[in-house]
């Protein structure tokens, strides 16, 4: 029997130094910043369109929101002694999304308060990117919606070239709600031109929510780039269409056409860009379908029976809270799994 214990390790003389780490030793090169930038690119057409229809005031809101979000992110990471990660572009994206969810008439302090709640309260206090349970931009928007309803919902500007005319008006959803309150029925007889205006975004509303066509184009770009999957937006928009359709069939005088519901309010920006937020939505396709249908259902309930004309933001935030539960019940079955025992998963 050989003796293997005696003897020393072979001497290493000026051995070259190699990096040692666990496999794999390759990476596809994608980064968090890269993904965030793709989402920003997808939003740019809608953002530029908002400048075209709302003018300089839109530029002001976007610049202010992005800048203050980045500053708040940097400051809170400094104060909380975390690595400053402005380079991951997530604060820029949050700032942009918040801006696109505000009216062009927002005073400067409204934007700053919104981005403070989005970045500091909704994101950094929970631990930063990856740990926030609620969509930061939507937390910012909803805080403003509840605290400053006048600034958030009462002053809408009708679109005009470069925002030159600045005539106040109401949003389409606000208008049908008013007509329902005053006349007891929705007064919705849209001409073909009016439908087209709604689609291209020639209507009052938050900066980024108005142009359905451009939001859809950006969304398709993100799906093609595999940044988001189709499940959430299709389930969300589909659910809104079906549920409002059911009510429309029951009483067309009280409930507006489902197609009108789908292309108004913040549904498209919500379904493609907010409900698909990685951190706060389910991770499996099946989970995303459940999440999307839940968002659609809550949106319809709020729009038709709630106090607000618009319900997308609240719906997404409520479903954010359900995300861990949905994830738990939509686990993918491991390859080759036998039927799972009844006890498992509890």
């Amino acid at each position: 029997m050989a003796d293997t214990s005696e003897g020393k390790k072979p001497k290493q003389e000026a051995a070259p130094r190699f990096l040692v780490s666990s496999s794999p030793h390759l990476h596809d090169g994608q980064s968090v910043g890269g993904i965030m930038r793709l989402v920003i690119y997808a939003l740019l057409p809608a953002a530029l369109f908002s400048i075209y229809v709302f003018g300089l005031s839109a530029v002001r809101v976007i610049v202010l929101s992005v800048a203050s979000s980045v500053v708040f992110e940097m400051l809170s990471q400094r104060v909380m002694k975390r690595t400053v990660r402005i380079g991951d572009w997530s604060a820029v994206l949050t700032g942009l999304l918040l801006a696109l969810n505000l009216p062009s008439t927002s005073p400067w302090w409204l934007v700053v308060v919104g981005s403070f709640f989005a970045i500091v309260i909704a994101k950094q206090i929970y631990g930063g990117l990856g740990y926030n349970p609620f969509n930061p931009a939507l937390v910012g928007r909803v805080v403003l919606l509840i605290s400053f309803p006048v600034q958030m919902t009462a002053r809408w500007i009708a679109p005009s070239k470069w925002g030159m005319e600045a005539v106040t008006t109401a949003t389409p959803l606000g208008r049908i709600r008013e007509s329902l309150m005053s006349q007891g029925s929705v007064d919705l007889h849209l001409t073909q031109q009016e439908w087209i205006d709604l689609l291209i975004g020639n209507r009052a509303g938050c900066l980024g929510e108005v142009s359905i066509v451009l939001l859809l184009a950006g969304g398709i770009f993100l799906i093609a780039k595999r940044v988001i999957s189709w499940h959430t937006p299709v389930a969300f928009i589909g659910a809104v269409w079906i549920f409002t359709g059911i009510f429309h069939l029951i009483d067309p005088m009280k409930y507006a056409d489902p197609s009108f519901h789908v292309i108004t309010g913040g549904l498209f920006i919500g379904a493609f860009y907010m409900a698909t937020d990685y951190v706060t939505s389910p991770i499996t396709g099946r989970g995303m379908l459940i999440f999307g249908v839940g968002c659609g259902l809550i949106t319809v309930v709020i729009r038709l029976f709630g106090a607000y004309p618009e319900g997308v933001s609240f719906a997404i935030l409520l479903m954010n809270a359900a995300t861990p539960l949905i994830d738990r019940f939509s686990r993918p079955a491991v390859f080759g799994a036998r039927k799972r025992k009844a006890a498992a998963g509890g």
Binding site: M1, A2, D3, T4, G7, K8, K9, P10, Q12, A15, P16, F18, L19, V20, S21, S22, S23, P24, H25, L26, H27, D28, Q30, S31, V32, G34, I35, R85, D88, G127, G128, L129, G130, Y131, R226, S229, Y278, V279, I283, T284, D327, R331, P332, A333, V334, F335, G336, A337, R338, A344
Partner: protein, 441 residues
């Protein structure tokens, strides 16, 4: 032809062009060989030589330590200079015999003798394979004779010869299929005879059209043999994924290919079986792809077991200064080396030299739950939530979420935008779960 693939997977840069056109070159005898006693999964073999012993080529220097174990043979004739601990390419230091070749390269009696194999029965073949020290040469190093001994209640109806070679950079199997197709198929028919299997499929990824063509031609002469061209997607060569791609049979979680009546053997192993059975040559040489931007002249080297990486580098024109990582095996599943003192084992399919600017750093930012890892995982696990559990040391939850089914292919970490060292986490969890006392009931 339909889609021949599986769920998930990734498309890394294959980088096989360094060596795909280069014929296998036999490396001259180095000045010393460092032969580890442990070269198989399972029980470590027992050394039967001592310092100062003279050995002949093919002589057993370590005997099997049990049924799931394989003997180790001297790769040349010479003198055992020492028995010492050496860095094993898969990790820790392991005992190894240092053999100084005498240059005669003289076989021990009984080896290197041609044998008529037409009338050999299955048991005899299996014994010769066992005696030849064969292990799976795709990298896992599981003793071949054990795979060829399914329990009586498991009937095998299909043998898959794995020539997928889905790991980037590696071309050892590719070259072997081009240069030794007949021997590989003869080896496969030996396996088939042991198992009583009529149907053999040679599985090759479509990025090796020349190998597919050569093997197709050769298969015509073998009844029941066919070639299947597979989609190029990593990890196509992983056993369970390969079986699913070819047969749509799902190996049960925690089970083995034999549970769906299939056996998978690497093409290199089939070649080694032919050598062991036909010519009584035990496994002392293998093809090693020495490649990567860090090596001056990448080659497909026929190297003796025990050849140090240092000597491989010397044979391939040296190593460039920018080399930052040396990997035993392919870059997706291989093991990073801290020195060139490690030596070729029966499982060394390649040694890849990466230069510094192409080495990703896994820095482990927070998971943003993008779900890319779920799309990539061929086992349909949830690497995202698993890694979060393991960071918090919640190993029970990790087990409940099937971490033990992870095949460590590396797809999840490859696509992770937060560069989380996911496979590292899963290895840790598996080790923690396995060392825990078994729960009763």
């Amino acid at each position: 032809m339909g889609r021949r693939r599986f769920y998930g997977g990734v498309h890394p840069e294959y980088n096989k062009d360094h060596t795909r056109e280069l014929g296998i070159e036999e490396m001259p005898l180095p000045e010393k060989l460092v032969v580890y006693f442990t070269q198989n999964l399972g029980a470590p073999p027992r050394p039967v030589v001592e310092k100062g012993d003279e050995v002949k080529k093919g002589q057993v220097i370590a005997e099997p330590g049990g049924f799931v174990s394989a003997p180790v043979h001297a790769p040349t004739s010479g003198k055992i200079k020492s028995i010492d601990l050496y860095p094993h390419p898969v990790g820790t230091d392991m005992p190894a015999a240092v053999i100084i070749p005498d240059g005669a390269d003289e076989w021990v009696e009984g080896c290197n003798a041609e044998r008529d194999i037409t009338d050999l029965d299955g048991d005899k073949i299996k014994n010769l394979i066992q005696g030849g020290g064969l292990v799976g040469m795709g990298g896992a190093s599981f003793p071949t004779h054990v795979k060829l001994s399914p329990p009586g209640d498991k009937k095998i109806d299909l043998l898959i010869l794995n020539g997928a070679e889905c790991e980037p950079y590696l071309t050892a199997d590719h070259r072997l299929m081009l240069e030794k197709p007949e021997e590989i198929l003869e080896g496969a028919s030996l396996f088939a005879r042991v198992l009583g299997v009529q149907k053999v499929i040679v599985a090759i990824e479509r990025n090796k059209p020349d190998a597919i063509e050569v093997m197709r031609k050769k298969c015509i002469e073998h009844g029941g043999f066919s070639v299947a061209a597979l989609d190029v997607v990593y990890p196509q060569g992983a056993e369970k994924q390969l079986i699913f791609a070819l047969t749509k049979r799902r190996v049960p979680a925690g089970g083995l290919p034999m549970d769906v009546s299939v056996l998978v053997q690497n093409v290199g192993t089939a070649f080694a079986a032919y050598e062991a059975v036909r010519y009584a040559r035990p496994l002392v040489k293998r093809v090693v792809t020495v490649t990567g931007r860090g090596i001056v002249h990448p080659k497909n080297v026929l190297a003796r077991v025990g050849t140090s990486f240092e000597d491989l580098v010397g044979f391939c024109g040296g190593m460039k200064d920018e080399t930052g990582k040396v990997i035993n095996g392919g870059p997706m599943m291989g093991v990073a080396q801290y020195s060139l003192d490690a030596s070729v084992t029966k499982g060394t399919s390649g040694v890849v030299f990466l230069v510094r600017d192409e080495i990703p750093q896994f820095i482990s930012d927070a998971c943003i739950r993008c779900g890319r890892c779920l799309d990539a995982c061929p086992m349909r696990l949830n690497p995202s939530v698993l890694s979060v559990f393991i960071e918090r040391m919640h190993f029970d939850e990790a087990e409940e979420y099937n971490v033990l089914d992870c095949i460590e292919c590396g797809c999840c970490a490859y696509v992770c935008p937060s560069r989380r060292p996911l496979v590292h986490h899963f290895r840790r969890a598996k080790a923690e779960i396995r060392k825990r006392p078994k729960k009763t009931g």
